[in-house]
């Protein structure tokens, strides 16, 4: 049931209740809020309850960009309240739908305002542009009764009071001084009177002002509480806590989402960050951008109809935009050229929500990042996340020359952990990598992203040095394998009870789609992992660069866009 009460704006805290890195517990109409300010100034008003096991988030930790629950350390992002990390399963990307309830909030006049269902902007409070916030006074009485009592509030004989259309009360004296009191309905029998004085005062004068009103307000409180005690206490509000989404009821599996470009963003800034590399800052046109995790990429739909994947470079908590890096590749099919030459600031692009095929574990005692060229982008986001958590890492960046170093400002955050290797030949690169990868060990992990040959070489060196498959993580941007689609075979779909034939020249993905089966995909060249599908029976010719050698040997999944059957028949788990 929606009531008027729920659609109003109320002050729920003073700005001074939100010092740096603090989490404040507030309450409105019986509902508890966790209120916290991120380091970028944004004020978050959330349901005071972790989605996992219901622990109050107000006892959590505000690290400036994310709020961390005290119980199992789940992390929720500034603005979106989306869960970015679940420590119990460090290798998994949390399902994107794990998102806490957020409430409309605004900070103005030295107060934090919220409403369960408030819409639009907080109406202007004329005459209080430069005001002093008086001390809030909690009163154990219903909001209406407090409002009524406020009509008699006065600090001298000339005071006159009037109720405003929003329910607040303004008291004005003939010398022009005025106080406007807003009553926050904490619960049905519990209110807080929050008042503004219409002048900015400081020092002694301020202390005197605060004292005077505290004293008057306490008198009002005592009177009102006595009156309230004579009446029957109203039943407390029973706020309904929204249920978690259906798909989270069972232990969430890897989220499958289609190739949808349902977000519209504006290019807020475009600049050259290195020779041949443009950085684009994309901002939402309306609404909040969805939560990203370090390692995630977005699909960008270009004016010329092409779709390209770009990694998000943002640090934790930077949730008001996505920044991507695009390298100009003249010989490619024209995706990057289109961005470089035709997309400008102010243009609108269609993008998908971020998808994470390259999740970052945060349970390593040491993490090594190895970036080659434009492959640096997802690793920047990852290293920034570890950096924010104070986890140890080293960052190796292979480039042709200093002019090719992209995102210098972001990289400078890594200080001593950063090693830029310039102008190395493949042989020299191999030697450097041999040194870098000299020491595998317990809870040590490597993340690699770069051009195909470098990636191959790095994986090989890591294997030679004794790194376990599970400790070496990589993301291919391109599949350079020579694809063979000359054979024909049958596929049995175990869950849909269908048998289909995949002829030469067509992919499994093509055939599925022709038969009305909705399978997500993104790169369609065996690099991104989106079209992965379980294999129940049959041998696979893997032609992708996504699965690890271990996973390929196991043969339990297949990239339906490029890989095929080695046998006559495959039974797929769809």
């Amino acid at each position: 049931m929606t009531t008027d009460l729920q659609s109003n704006w109320y002050p729920i805290a003073s700005s001074s209740d939100l010092p740096k890195r603090h989490v404040y517990q507030a309450q409105l109409l019986g509902r508890e809020f966790a209120v916290w300010r991120a380091d970028d100034g944004y004020v978050n008003v959330w349901e005071n309850r972790c989605l996992h096991r219901g622990v109050r988030l107000s006892i959590g930790i505000n690290n400036g960009t994310e709020l961390r629950c005290q119980y199992h350390g789940w992390r929720y992002a500034n603005r979106t309240a989306g869960c970015t990390y679940i420590p119990a399963h460090p290798a998994d990307a949390p399902a994107r739908t794990i998102c806490n309830n957020t409430y409309p909030a605004q900070e103005a006049y030295g107060l934090v305002w919220a409403g369960e269902l408030a819409v639009g902007e907080l109406p202007a409070i004329d005459g209080f542009e430069s005001a002093t916030v008086l001390r809030p006074v909690p009163i154990m009485a219903p909001q209406k009764m407090v409002n009524q009592a406020l009509l008699g509030y006065a600090w001298d004989d000339t005071c006159e009071s009037a109720e405003n259309s929003d329910g607040s009360v303004t008291i004005t004296a003939t010398d022009g001084s005025a106080v406007r009191v807003f009553v926050q309905p904490v619960d049905s029998n519990h209110s807080v009177a929050r008042a503004l004085y219409n002048r900015k005062v400081a020092g002694e004068e301020r202390i005197a002002l605060l004292k005077r009103h505290s004293w008057l307000m306490q008198e009002l409180r005592d009177r009102t509480e006595t009156q309230a005690a004579r009446q029957e206490t109203p039943a407390p509000y029973e706020p309904v806590i929204a249920k978690v989404s259906e798909d989270l009821v069972d232990i969430p599996a890897i989220s499958v989402d289609g190739r949808k470009a349902d977000l519209r963003v504006q290019v807020a800034r475009k600049e050259m960050t290195a020779d041949g590399i443009a950085s684009l800052r994309l901002e939402a046109i309306k609404d909040q951008l969805p939560t990203f995790q370090p390692g995630a990429h977005i699909d960008v739909h270009l004016p010329n109809g092409l779709v390209r994947q770009y990694s998000v470079t943002n640090g934790p908590g930077e949730t008001d935009h996505y920044t991507i890096g695009v390298k100009r590749e003249p010989d490619s099919r024209g995706g990057s050229v289109a961005i470089h030459d035709t997309v400008g600031e102010g243009d609108v692009l269609a993008i998908s929500a971020p998808r994470n095929n390259f999740p970052l574990r945060r349970d390593a005692v040491h993490t090594i990042f190895i970036a080659g060229g434009i492959g640096v982008t997802p690793l920047i986001a990852m290293a920034r996340a570890l950096n924010a958590q104070g986890l140890e890492f080293e960052f190796h960046y292979f480039v042709q020359s200093d002019d090719h170093v992209a995102f210098k400002r972001e990289l400078s955050e890594f200080e001593g952990a950063l090693n830029i290797h310039k102008g190395q030949s493949p042989k020299e690169t191999g030697e450097t990598l041999t040194e870098v990868l000299a020491n595998p060990g317990y809870a040590r992990h490597v993340y690699i992203c770069g051009p195909g040959p470098m990636l191959e070489a790095t994986r090989q060196i890591a294997a030679d040095k004794g790194w376990a498959d599970e400790a070496v993580h990589f993301e291919y941007f391109k599949n350079t394998t020579e694809l063979d689609d000359s054979n024909s075979f049958e596929i049995d779909l175990a869950r849909s009870a269908m048998t289909l034939t995949v002829p030469a020249g067509k992919s499994i993905l093509d055939v599925l789609r022709e038969n009305g089966i909705n399978m997500s995909s993104s790169c369609e060249q065996g690099a991104c992992g989106t079209c992965r599908c379980g294999v129940i029976e049959g041998d696979v010719i893997h032609q992708d660069v996504y699965l690890s050698d271990g996973e390929k040997a196991e043969g339990r999944s297949i990239m339906t866009c490029v890989s095929r059957a080695a046998s006559n028949r495959l039974i797929l788990d769809i």
Partner: protein, 283 residues
């Protein structure tokens, strides 16, 4: 709200620590919101009286605790053979009141994922936060057992290198009784264990009685007790900040992950047994 769950009313519940009772002669406590008086008779045996009716309730003494029932018990107090082994300490780790449903306490006890965050430096330590897959089953005796539960535990000793993998086993005997088994460092084939006998005081409050059963070698009684109290003091503020205080049985009330496999089965088991006291029943 009073208790209507037959399975709970007809069961035995620990309501006092015998040693503690002896030192104070009698105490008042609550079970399912009914006030009880627990006292020591001249013959040294404890007695339990239901205050409102002045009626005496059935009494047993077992594992160092006084047990009673508000109904007609159709089964005995749980049997724990290891508790009777001669080379073990049988220690009461204390009785702790907590303002949360006892069912939430059980779930917390079954949970390894919180070790690095709540018991930092003792039972776990960041960044080693992974909960590896483990086995869960419902036995033919209708108990829940979780096995092969491994967790990385820091070790304070200067010779230990970066911690060890500890193996746990969990067992839910009855809705309010849960045990944990942990490998003994000296005898890899034997396990120490801790049993919680949770007294449902109200739907949103309980007293956690715990029995510690440690192999004597290498352990002192006060150390064990001190350790248990430390761990419990770390859990309490978390437990008392769970909203709602009762355990929601609706699958869509909270978000489970793979690490919560045993808790998921526990909630389902409670649903199947119609245990609603201390829970919010699924709609």
């Amino acid at each position: 709200m009073s208790c209507h769950d037959r399975i709970l009313l007809d069961d035995w519940h620990a309501v006092a620590d015998l040693e503690q009772l002896k030192s104070g002669a009698h105490l008042k406590t609550e079970l399912f919101e009914r006030v009880l008086k627990v006292s020591i008779q001249p013959n040294g045996m404890p007695a339990v009286t239901l205050c409102a009716e002045g009626r005496d309730l059935p009494v047993q003494v077992k594992y160092g605790f006084v047990w009673t029932s508000l109904g007609t018990p159709d089964r005995g107090i749980i049997d724990i053979p290891e508790a009777l082994e001669a080379d073990r300490y049988l220690v009461s780790g204390g009785s702790f009141p907590v303002k949360v449903s006892g069912l939430r306490v059980v779930e917390n006890f079954l949970d390894m994922g919180h070790f690095p965050f709540v018991h930092t430096g003792w039972l776990g330590e960041e960044p080693h936060t992974e909960v590896a897959p483990y086995q869960v089953e419902l036995t033919s005796d209708d108990e829940i057992i979780a096995t092969e539960c491994f967790f990385h535990q820091p070790v304070a000793s200067p010779t230990a290198d970066g911690g060890i993998e500890v193996e746990y086993k969990y067992r839910v005997y009855r809705p309010y009784i849960v045990a944990l088994y942990k490998t003994n460092p000296l005898y890899p084939d034997r396990m120490d264990y801790i049993v919680l006998f949770i007294q449902p005081v109200g739907p949103e409050s309980c007293v956690v009685h715990n029995m510690l059963c440690y192999i004597k070698e290498g352990m002192s009684e006060p150390d064990i007790r001190w350790f248990m109290q430390l761990i419990f003091a770390q859990d309490k503020p978390i437990l008392e900040n769970q909203i709602p205080r009762r355990l929601p049985l609706d699958p869509r009330a909270e978000t489970p992950i793979r690490a919560d496999k045993v808790a998921i089965l526990y909630r389902r088991w409670l649903r199947d047994h119609d245990v609603n006291y201390g829970a919010i029943p699924a709609a």
